[in-house]
């Protein structure tokens, strides 16, 4: 969406034009859904997060002072919804463990590539929602750290340390997984 068009739509939405708001939603829904899905690792909850974020956005859009900050603001609303939903689901989380044959020969084929991807998926899920969020905003959405910090509503220094710790945590999980014959294969709700 071009800059002028976005400003116009925000201004109209702020005056109560629901069609204009729907145009904003249509323009950002794919990006926000992907972000929420990565943070929550759950399609259904990602849908809920996006819907919740847009409801808040419509309700509070008159308070958005700078239309150029629309995307950053929507990011913040989605992340906040993700946190809320993640917290709601946390108590119902559990793990299924499987024991892999530690002595089995390692064969580099397509299945091992898939296994590597699954392994990253599993390790990523092991992080806290806060850690996943900063990794998604910086490495998936490609936001500068200052914008990621704004989306997460934390100071820049905190964002830097959180990003660093998230990377460390991810590395630690992956390394631990390599060392152990007992591998977590799946995380289920």
């Amino acid at each position: 969406m071009d800059h002028v068009r976005q400003q116009e739509l925000v201004a109209r939405a702020q005056r109560g034009d629901h069609e204009a708001f729907c145009a904003i939603a249509r323009g950002g829904i794919a990006r926000l859904y992907a972000t929420a899905r990565l943070i929550l690792h759950d399609s259904e909850r990602a849908e809920d997060a996006v819907q919740e974020a847009f409801i808040v956005a419509w309700r509070d859009i008159r308070g958005l002072r700078d239309p150029d900050r629309l995307d950053a603001w929507l990011n913040r609303l989605v992340v906040r919804s993700c946190y809320r939903l993640a917290e709601r689901e946390r108590r119902h989380s559990g793990r299924i463990f499987s024991i892999l044959d530690a002595d089995a020969p390692h064969v580099a084929d397509d299945s091992s590539l898939i296994a590597e991807r699954d392994r990253m998926g599993w390790a990523f899920r092991e992080l806290t929602p806060q850690q996943r969020a900063i990794l998604v905003l910086v490495y998936y959405a490609d936001l500068p750290l200052a914008e990621a910090a704004a989306a997460l509503q934390i100071p820049l220094g905190t964002a830097k340390s959180r990003l660093h710790r998230a990377c460390q945590a991810l590395r630690a999980v992956l390394e631990a997984d390599e060392r152990l014959p007992l591998r977590v294969s799946e995380v289920v709700r």
Partner: protein, 254 residues
């Protein structure tokens, strides 16, 4: 745009994985859910007052100048502090024991005294300010309908006042606003005007998820509130609270 950290092996593994995982199309019905879900929602009013600008003329020095820099990254909060008149503001009239050792602003975790009738107020009409512990660690009410949800939450208060509660009295307190993500801990000073309406200024430091942020607010009890709530307008910004006491010559020196 600059890369925030070194491209270490984790980042090199993570980026393509995220890109691949993120290549999913949103469900067809999601947009319809959003459009339908928002249609019946009533919009909140926008900003009533904008505080940005040359509030303090001239450039100050030291921490005052630092504070003004921080103002550039501000957000505003507008909402209400719902108060329970029976146990809250009204309960401030319950005169506790005189406690000269409890200085204004001191945080106390002592058990809350139950509100007692106004008849128990100590008579204090002379010119000497009498420090009276009004309420300690009392749940006063909730911050509701804030345009910035970080400021919503339970409001606990240690309240003190000069003499008996009533019109034309001054009040000061330590206040904590707490929600699931963090808290705001600070102080408030104000007065009850001749019509019995409250007017207060508060300043807070963030804790928990709000670490590194500060919040300054103004609370007013309007005629329209009918004694049920205080209107709140405030400012959240990254950085420290401004210096509260500086000589005017410092504030206005270039």
């Amino acid at each position: 745009m600059s890369a925030p950290i070194d491209r270490d092996p984790i980042e090199r593994q993570l980026r393509p994985w995220l890109a691949e995982e993120g290549m999913v199309r949103e469900p067809d019905e999601l947009f319809e859910r959003v459009a339908g879900g928002t249609r019946s929602v009533r919009q909140r009013p926008g900003w009533v007052v904008r505080l940005l600008g040359n509030g303090i003329a001239g450039a100050g020095a030291g921490s005052a100048a630092q504070w003004r820099e921080h103002r550039m990254a501000t957000t505003f909060g507008l909402g209400t502090l719902a108060i329970a008149l029976a146990i809250g503001i009204g309960g401030i009239g319950s005169g506790g024991p005189t406690d000269p050792g409890t200085a204004p602003g001191a945080v106390s975790n002592a058990p809350s005294p139950s509100a007692s009738p106004a008849a128990s107020q100590p008579a204090s009409t002379d010119e000497t300010w009498v420090t009276v512990t009004g309420l300690q660690n009392k749940l006063l009410g909730k911050m509701l309908d804030m345009s910035d949800p970080r400021l919503e939450g339970d409001v606990r208060i240690d309240y003190e006042r000069n003499g008996p509660y009533g019109n034309d009295s001054t009040l000061w307190s330590t206040v904590t606003i707490t929600n699931d993500e963090g808290s705001w801990v600070g102080q408030s000073v104000g007065f009850v005007d001749h019509q019995g309406r409250h007017h207060h200024m508060g300043w807070f430091e963030g804790a928990g998820a709000y670490e590194g942020l500060a919040y300054i607010e103004q609370l007013t009890e309007s005629e329209a509130s009918a004694g049920n709530h205080l209107d709140v307008i405030g400012l959240v910004y990254e950085g420290e609270l401004p210096p509260m006491v500086l000589p005017a010559s410092t504030l206005y020196t270039d």
